[in-house]
């Protein structure tokens, strides 16, 4: 019997943990049934067992007043959060029982109390009433046997549980009964099937049946018959199963049922975030450990939470569900700001960072380098915050902005920004932001856009939406105003021309834009008036710009800068981040001290705490004045003295006096930074099953992860599909070594320096002349519409047989640099990988490709490259004698209007240069940048139209004009958004006419520039570039007159005004 009692106690103990109400009630039963105790003892006992039965035991207190006696918990005090029930004897109230919370808790059914708790309280009051009645009866009828003590059902221990359920939670009883009947069916109990059929219609006890299968109203199933059915089920169970089995089943099902309220809340699409948040909080507070949930329930819950708060993308959910716990969401909602009745999500950036951090946390024990990675404190404003803002201020019109013409969008954008900045946030949001500021303190903040579109796979919205820095200084109100101002600006950026154009190009316009916002503290420290991280940057799983054949694509790439990471994110052209490949940290892009210094960061981005502004300052000056204060500054620099560049010993730098170069030598060689980055990139890539792109920063002590998203290749670095059935005539070259990703489209000219001929040049002077000729061609040929192909190493100095001696300025307009490594004897020379100006190539996005024509399985169309008509003598007559060595090929002229595409695919390690029609989509590699091409076409089309209108309106007599011609990119249909309209004016008038004409053109030029700005966003000082020529020029064919009637690239005459009477 003792054993049996023990079993009951076991069950009760487990119920005490998981089913506190039931346990409480049972204890009450136990206490009140103990006839050996006095009534005082009974009541004190009841007081003790009540708090554990309520949701928040720690702050729960109870009090029983009967007539004049009071029994209360030690911590009992009057409270506004209380519930009470009357204690009746023979139907007359003789006292009350009251339960209070001493602190405020989330609202549920009855203040902070659950409806089950109300029931429980009443049951307890009832029980106490019965107990007192019983005792009074005993007192008056001494010797009489009382019999109202509840006997456990049919004497079996699990019966006690069912009885309790019947009293407190019938719906749970029914759910358990239903599970039992299912269980019995699966166990092959025949009678169970019959019962199951009866069960069917009754399963929804609490809800009206919505399925009307017949036209007849369905009979209502009353609860009593339901409990009777439950009794039948358990009778059947008792007959078929052992007590142990029944106990363990009931035990398990009750456990699983504990999370049902959370599941219900989440599965209901109508519940607002606030309700979900409350449910999570309640779940957490109630002390449910997740381990107790069944695997499937837990997964279901997590997926629902991920979908609700983070992302509904399947790829994302698939990964995230393995990494998040319910408690993580509990953390998340504490820093979540959302509109009342909101349904929004954190947005792409928020979701990416949240997941990355969870992954790192989960795996931190695997790799000691991961353990120390942190994320900055972040608050999330959900994506529907923007809609709330728009509706709140009646700005709904903006949502149709995206369907306007792009020039209209551009024109109206500044107004939208102002309107947004002058609009109000709803009270809920303001309250949320205010809380956020209290939590974040007065550290500088970054307000990052976190759009639902942003960071979706395949669409890199990198930099399209705003991210703003805030110094976050001043009074609370000032800080709050500045924060709201910044958020309004981020919201407005959704309606800016750049993102709209970008979305239009990708068919994403109709996607309903939601813009979440991340409010993140800026990692860093205060140094003088400035606030900045010691260093920051971006890192990529895949290195698309490799500077050595020893670096594999998977070795990754880190772009490091001192100060804020903005300078590493953007390609600046005139400043350089330090590049490191974490898989090959020893191999640096810059080998000699000259290169290292040339490509060292020169500026640093900081937040000025005095002016509350984001600023860019010179890094040398900054280090000179404040290097001593910047944490880890010695890790960032090398000292240059007497032609020697050396990393300093710790404590040996004299910031004021030493000549310092930012090299990050200390950081890279003496700290685990590189290993940390490598581990981080590898881990994230492995776990999200996609290469990633992360942003990071360090305050000099810890490394912080700021952002993580799928590494979506930029437009120019997307892997190109390689067509398999290219005819020999169309294939110019192919490559299968060291290929990066990308497409170089619409190449109209090829400059080919014949390696063999170049090698045969007799003098160094001739070789240098080749370099000069290339420099000249670089200025003459249309920018980014030609490629340079040449032997070995472009940019050789000294022994220039290795490659053409050019500087970056001689090649800066090319779209691509191709290095050809021809085998000589049994030896294939190395190519340079563009190392002489590698970082310039990277920052200008000039692509690089090495060719090994002697390799098997590669094509090299020697005939096309050497036998095509050579324009060199025509466009650069001064270099005509180099025509054997330098071939300038007009691709459309030579190939019947086709242009060259270079398609590169690093995944396959293959690249091809193919001739293709620029306008014919079926010949153009499928699904690549189609829209971009039509867009590019738009630029030359309207320019041509405008040139024609100018001519049509140009009065030849008034201005002394004999002819007007169109040349350059507009004529060649290659004009891009930044292109000029190049005109040749054949002028024969007087000086005065010339002045008038120039003014006339200037008017056009400025107007066209304005139109172009609205269309493209490119600001130019004027759009016309007019070249004047005279009769003499025409006669001598000098100056631009050479273009008129030229064999190739001839100027196109434009029809002048009808007033032409000459």
């Amino acid at each position: 019997m003792a054993k049996q009692d023990q079993r009951v106690a076991d069950i009760l103990r487990s119920l005490q943990e998981r089913a506190k109400e039931l346990n409480c009630l049972y204890r009450v039963e136990e206490i009140t049934s103990n006839e050996d105790c006095s009534l005082d003892e009974v009541l004190n006992g009841v007081i003790e067992v009540i708090p554990p039965g309520w949701q928040y035991p720690d702050i729960c207190a109870a009090c029983i007043r009967i007539n004049d006696t009071v029994h209360a918990s030690s911590n009992f005090d009057k409270s506004i959060w209380s519930q009470s029930a009357k204690i009746k004897v023979y139907g007359e109230p003789i006292g009350t029982i009251e339960v209070v919370y001493t602190e405020k808790m989330p609202q549920v059914d009855e203040g902070p109390f659950l409806k089950e708790e109300r029931k429980l309280l009443e049951t307890i009051a009832d029980r106490i009433g019965s107990c007192i009645t019983h005792r009074r009866l005993l007192e008056t009828m001494q010797g009489m046997q009382g019999s109202d003590r509840t006997t456990p059902r049919r004497g079996r221990e699990w019966g006690a549980i069912l009885d309790l359920l019947r009293r407190t939670d019938q719906s749970l009883l029914m759910r358990v009964a239903r599970k039992m009947i299912n269980h019995l069916c699966w166990s092959g109990v025949r009678d169970a099937e019959r019962l199951l059929q009866r069960f069917g219609p009754q399963q929804r006890i609490d809800e009206p049946d919505v399925f009307l299968e017949s036209n007849q109203p369905r009979q209502k199933n009353a609860s009593p018959s339901a409990t009777a059915l439950a009794d039948e089920v358990f009778d059947l169970a008792a007959a078929s199963l052992s007590d142990d089995e029944i106990i363990s089943c009931v035990h398990k099902w009750i456990k699983q049922d504990r999370a049902s309220f959370l599941v219900n809340t989440l599965e209901n699409y109508h519940t607002a975030i606030s309700e979900v948040a409350d449910a999570i909080q309640r779940y957490q507070h109630a002390g449910h450990g997740e381990v107790e949930l069944s695997h499937s329930t837990r997964k279901g819950l997590l997926v629902a939470l991920v979908r609700r708060f983070l992302s509904d993308q399947l790829e994302y959910i698939n990964v995230a569900k393995n990494y998040v716990e319910i408690k993580d969401f509990h953390q998340l909602i504490r820093r979540l700001i959302y509109p009342a009745r909101g349904h929004g999500k954190t947005g792409g950036k928020g979701a990416g960072l949240f997941l990355a951090y969870q992954i790192v946390q989960t795996h931190k024990d695997e790799d000691k380098f991961l353990a120390e990675i942190k994320t900055p404190k972040t608050w999330y404003l959900t994506s529907d915050g923007m809609h709330d803002f728009v509706y709140c201020n009646h700005l709904e019109d903006v949502f149709s902005q995206k369907y306007k013409e792009i020039d209209e969008v551009r024109q109206e954008y500044p107004d939208i920004v102002q309107v947004f900045k002058n609009s109000q946030f709803s009270a809920t949001i303001v309250k949320g932001l205010s809380l956020a500021l209290d939590d974040l303190g007065d550290k500088p903040l970054i307000v990052r856009s976190s759009s639902l579109l942003e960071d979706r796979f395949g669409a890199a919205f990198s930099g399209k939406y705003k991210s703003l820095f805030l110094a976050n200084r001043g009074s609370k109100q000032e800080r709050l105003d500045a924060l709201m101002d910044a958020i309004a600006e981020v919201y407005a950026s959704t309606f800016g021309p750049d993102p709209i154009q970008y979305r239009a190009e990708r068919n994403l316009l109709d996607f309903q834009e939601g813009m979440g916002v991340l409010i993140q503290e800026v990692v860093g420290t205060r140094v003088g008036d400035y606030y900045l991280p010691a260093f920051a940057g971006v890192a990529f799983s895949h290195n698309e710009f490799r500077w050595s054949p020893r670096i594999k694509r998977e070795d990754g790439l880190v772009r490091l800068v001192p100060g804020l990471g903005t300078r590493a994110v953007d390609r600046l052209g005139d400043d350089y981040p330090v590049l490191v490949s974490p898989g090959q940290p020893g191999l640096r892009a810059n080998a000699t001290p000259e290169e290292v210094m040339r490509y060292a960061p020169r500026f640093i981005d900081v937040i000025n705490l005095n002016t509350n502004k984001f600023e860019t300052i010179g890094v040398r000056e900054f280090l000179q004045s404040a290097g001593d204060e910047l944490p880890a500054a010695e890790m960032l620099v090398s000292v240059y003295e007497e032609n020697h560049l050396r990393p300093p010993l710790m404590g040996s730098v004299n910031f004021e006096r030493d000549d310092l170069v930012v090299t990050f030598e200390g950081l890279l060689n003496r700290t685990p930074f590189v290993k940390q980055m490598h581990a981080l990139l590898n881990l994230l890539k492995r776990e999200v099953k996609h290469p990633v792109d992360i942003e990071f920063a360090s305050d000099g002590k810890d490394l912080y992860l700021l952002q993580c998203r799928a590494q979506a290749p930029a437009k120019s670095t997307r892997p190109a599909p390689i067509p398999r059935d290219i005819s020999h005539q169309r294939l110019i070259f192919s490559a299968n070594r060291y290929v990066s990703n990308g497409i170089v489209p619409n190449i109209t000219h090829i400059v080919y320096v014949d390696p063999e001929q170049y090698g045969q040049l007799a003098t160094r002077e001739k070789m240098l002349a080749v370099g000069r000729a290339v420099g000249r061609l670089n200025k003459l040929l249309p920018k980014r519409q030609f490629i340079l192909m040449g032997p070995g190493r472009w940019g050789s100095r000294g022994d220039i047989r290795l490659g053409v001696s050019v500087t970056y300025s001689d090649i800066n307009n090319t779209a691509m640099l191709v290095e050809i490594a021809r085998r000589t004897g049994d030896y294939t020379p190395d190519v340079s990988f563009g190392t002489h100006f590698f970082q310039d190539l990277v920052e200008s996005e000039i692509r690089y490709l090495p060719l090994y024509p002697d390799d098997d399985d590669t094509e090299f169309n020697h005939i096309f490259l050497t036998r095509s008509p050579n324009l060199l003598a025509e466009i650069a007559p001064e270099f005509a004698e180099l025509a054997d060595t330098i071939k300038v090929i007009d691709v459309p002229q030579t190939a019947n209007g086709s242009v060259l595409y270079v398609l590169m695919n690093a995944d396959l390690d293959e690249a091809v240069g193919v001739l293709s029609e620029p306008t014919s989509p079926d010949q153009y590699p499928a699904d690549v940048e189609k829209s971009a091409i039509t867009h590019e076409g738009a630029d030359w089309r309207w320019r041509t139209r405008m040139a024609e209108s100018i001519a049509a309106k140009l009065d030849p007599v008034r201005f002394g004009i004999k002819g007007l011609y169109l040349i350059g990119s507009t004529k060649n249909a290659t004009a891009g958004p930044a292109s000029d309209i190049d005109l040749i004016a054949h002028f024969v008038g007087t000086d005065e006419q010339r002045r008038d004409l120039e003014r006339w053109f200037e008017g056009w030029s400025l107007s066209l520039a304005e139109i172009n700005f609205f269309k493209s966003g490119y600001r130019t000082e004027g759009l016309l570039d007019v070249h004047f020529i005279t009769d003499e020029d025409v006669a001598r064919g000098s100056s631009y007159a050479v273009k008129i009637g030229a064999v190739t690239d001839a100027a196109r005459p434009l029809k002048l005004s009808e007033a032409d009477s000459t």
Binding site: W547, S548, P549, R550, D574, Q584, P585, G586, L587, R588, A589, N590, A591, T592, P593, M597, R598, R602, Y640, E641, E642, N643, H644, L645, R646, D659, V661, G759, Q760, L761, A762, T763, R764, E765, K766, M767, L768, G792, R793, G798, D799, R801, L802, Y808, S809, N812, P829, D830, S832, F833, T835, D884
Partner: protein, 428 residues
């Protein structure tokens, strides 16, 4: 156009042959000087960071050491050839001889690309190189120095390996070491100052007072800045300097007709000799196109930037007033332009004399290293002055006496000195 590929060594031999003929050298001397006296080709097995081994090809060529230990750099170059090294070693012989240094000429190289090597791997190459050649280099045999893609750091690794093997300190085994580790002070100034020491002597010879002269300098890097500084000190006025504008990707010339101020300009110049265009304009400098430096109406031109800056096409722009061109850069004048200047009677201080300040300073570093006693900067520069002056005087005397163009005189004197040493030693 010939079908014979351009070959640096063949070119160097051609140049030598021309002078040798004018000196009427005997065949044996010619044969000796046309080719290196010793060549070492060796394999360098090197352990890479990933644990694998790779074998690199190394060279050391000693062209001639009749006048003293061979001297010359070690280059790391991916397409190094022995012919390039031979040519460069020969040029080193003449360069040391024209400066009248007691040194011969040598050169070395390794076929490798530092862009593809970690520093650790480069260190392994340096040490492997020394292990292979240790018996044939050293303070009294052959003294390497940094060159293309090698730095003071590489030299330190090499000297350390040399000293480890020989069990002693031999800082004089290698030059170009960092200051404080066996390097010499004054190295930064040496080439620019040396240029002006020679210029000063040229003015003396032409009987022109420096304070009566104006000059224009192409470039504003290390050499140009120190040349301007010293030239101003001796009384001259620089009216314009040109430099590369990294942002605009083209050069500019900055002019102030009453003389530029070197201190002021240095204050607005970046590490690479790029002068800030806007700040210069604020300071009252005219900003002219890059090519304008050559057209200035001055007495002296100092091309201190790039090779082939004075060409057939722009030599006609050189003002009639220009009397001296001091070649601070390597090969700033193309042969065609050189011919025009010679015709016009412009006094050209040829590059390998004019910029001998660098190699002279290397020599002084070696001397100090051998003594293990290091001079103050003034002492180094003082000695440099004396040596540059006497080198110049010897060349110009030769030019005057034998009515030679300065460039030819410099070659002649260099080759004659080496030939003489070989004969005196009884080699030929």
């Amino acid at each position: 156009m010939t079908n014979r590929p351009f070959n640096a060594f063949a070119m160097a031999q051609g140049q030598f042959d021309k002078i040798a003929d004018s000196l009427s050298l005997d065949q044996a001397t010619k044969d000796l000087l046309r080719n290196p006296i010793r060549e070492y080709h060796f394999a360098l097995p090197v352990r890479m960071d990933d644990g694998s081994y790779k074998v690199f090809q190394g060279y050391r060529v000693q062209h001639n050491d009749a006048r003293g230990p061979a001297k010359g750099g070690i280059r790391f170059h991916p397409q190094e050839t022995v012919d390039t090294v031979r040519a460069l070693s020969m040029w080193m012989t003449w360069k040391c001889a024209v400066a009248d240094l007691p040194l011969g000429g040598g050169k070395g190289g390794v076929i490798c690309d530092p862009h593809n090597l970690s520093l650790n791997e480069q260190q392994n190459i340096c040490r492997a190189y020394v292990r292979q050649i240790v018996r044939d280099i050293g303070p009294i045999r052959d003294v390497p120095a940094p060159d293309v893609m090698t730095t003071g750091q590489h030299m330190l690794w090499m000297v350390d390996e040399y000293e480890k093997i020989n069990g002693g300190h031999y800082p004089g085994a290698i030059t170009g070491k960092p200051v404080g580790m066996g390097g010499s002070l004054g190295r930064t100034e040496a080439t620019g100052f040396g240029l002006v020491f020679a210029l000063r002597e040229a003015l003396k010879e032409l009987d022109i007072r420096p304070q009566d002269t104006t000059a224009c300098v192409q470039g504003f890097g290390n050499v140009a800045q120190y040349a301007v500084e010293l030239y101003e000190q001796i009384g001259g006025t620089v009216v314009a300097v040109s430099c590369w504008d990294q942002e605009a990707q083209k050069p500019h010339t900055f002019r102030k007709k009453d003389g530029i101020n070197i201190t002021e300009l240095r204050g607005i110049t970046d590490r690479f000799g790029g002068i800030s265009k806007s700040k210069a304009a604020e300071l009252g400098y005219e900003v002219l196109p890059g090519e304008a430096w050559i057209e200035q109406d001055v007495d002296i031109l100092m091309p201190c930037a790039l090779e082939n800056s004075v060409t057939e096409s722009n030599v006609v722009d050189v003002s009639k007033r220009v009397k001296i061109i001091a070649e601070g850069a390597n090969g700033p004048t193309t042969p065609e332009a050189d011919h025009v200047l010679r015709e016009r009677g412009v006094f050209v201080i040829p590059d390998f004399l004019a910029n001998a300040g660098g190699v002279t300073c290397s020599y002084l570093e070696q001397v100090q290293s051998n003594m293990n006693y290091f001079w103050e900067k003034d002492e180094v520069l003082g000695k440099l002055d004396v040596m540059m002056t006497s080198a110049f005087v010897a060349v110009s005397e030769m030019a005057r006496k034998r009515n030679l163009y300065m460039r030819d005189a410099a070659y002649t004197i260099a080759i004659a000195r080496v030939a003489q040493a070989c004969k005196d030693r009884g080699w030929v």
